[in-house]
Symmetry: C2
Subunit: 250 residues, 2 copies
């Protein structure tokens, strides 16, 4: 038995998220079908975290055990030949025996893309949240800094019954407006040792209240302190969210 | 009667091109339906040029006559409220009476996007042509310069029976590789007083032969001189092509 580590990119638009569900097109489902075709065996995969329907990935990490003798390079090519064009294996590596994409994950980075051009962009409709108000990206950046550090992020959790608790450590959080042809794009980047379900999208819903001028830049700090989901902004729509990276010890 | 000038962006993926065709979803068809809903009148529109199925537009220009009394701003908003998300009116202006988007067009600019990353990019599959060989963008740039000036572009025409002749003047032609996160993107930009049907895509098919190292950088000049479609490369696929701009006298 060997343990393998795959890195996947996918366009979440036409998927009902990562996790296998009956009668739904899921990334895990399509990947496990491709693995069955390529290796001839039933293989169960584990991802660094689930992504919801419509959420994209640039670097989702997946682990599994297999007795296949294919080299990682051949496995990558064979899987990509089976998979639909909206999911690609971008890297395949031999991992240490027992490597586990959830348990061993040290942190993740997400990006959320907002577009505040006067007219929605036809090429961004699947990859950004369009808002009609001009956003104050500087105020949003100041606000995002209140997420930094170790906090109870219950205010940004979809459900309060989180089995592993609701404390997380945010190690990076920034909001930047693009330049030149990207000047109507505002990107929120956030890195943490782990994320609660819907946490990034609830953070974005909160930051956008600041960006629109409905709330002051110090309001998100109050939302964190309240530890109550009813204090935060609404959950931002999925299509602006990208899982950029999952980190592991070398 | 007034004459109006619209600028449109569209994602060509799910359209059978610009021009109305029975039982097909076309940009012209959807725009004229929206105009009928908004103005209550049957309006025939004219575009700077037809785009083929799968080809995109950032700045397609459309003209039409109407006795509607809506301001251009209200017309833009009303049309965008009717249109599907893959086509947007990005500008609406009152034009001089008799303005005609084909007849008055002084020139057009197209962009063609190539992607030569090791693995196809899930987010570019509708917006670029992926080639597995690493392209020599510098050689392609040198080659593209042989398109500059007034030439008979019959070698790049889909049909030889062009009613307005096959001579055109190319005023700009360049190939550049992107930087940083765009380093796997190679963009061909070309501007001319007019284009033959499939001309840009046949140019790209020809330049890619140079980029792949199968032909020398001086070969496209020979293809131009041959004035025979059989000498050029194959027609590149539609999804990499963008109509960027159509120019008119002020």
């Amino acid at each position: 038995m060997r343990t393998l580590k795959l890195t996947l990119a996918y366009d979440g638009t036409d998927f009902a998220g990562w996790q296998v569900q009956p009668d739904e097109r899921t990334v895990q489902g399509e990947l496990e079908q491709a693995l069955a075709r390529v290796t001839g065996a039933t293989i169960r995969t584990v991802a660094s975290g689930r992504t919801d329907a419509g959420v994209h990935a640039l670097g989702q990490v997946v682990s599994f055990d297999s007795d296949s003798r294919l080299s990682p390079e051949d496995l990558l090519r064979a899987l990509n030949a089976c998979l639909a064009a909206d999911v690609r294996i971008v890297d395949a590596q031999e991992a240490k025996p027992g490597f586990h994409a959830i348990r061993d994950c040290r942190g993740k980075r997400y990006r959320y893309v907002l577009h505040d051009g006067a007219v929605p962009d036809v090429f961004l409709r699947r990859y950004a949240w369009h808002v009609y108000e001009r956003l104050d990206a500087n105020a949003m950046h100041v606000a995002a800094r209140s997420f930094l550090g170790r906090h109870d992020f219950r205010s940004f959790a979809a459900r309060s019954d989180m089995p592993r608790g609701t404390e997380r450590t945010v190690t990076a959080a920034s909001v930047r407006r693009g330049e030149g042809p990207e000047r109507a794009l505002v990107r929120f980047e956030v890195e943490a040792d782990g994320f609660l379900h819907h946490m990034v999208r609830a953070m974005v819903g909160t930051l956008v209240e600041v960006g629109r001028g409905r709330r002051e830049a110090d309001w998100p700090a109050e939302v964190v302190a309240a530890r109550d989901r009813r204090h935060a902004g609404r959950t931002a729509p999925p299509q602006g969210l990208f899982l950029v990276e999952a980190r592991y010890d070398a």
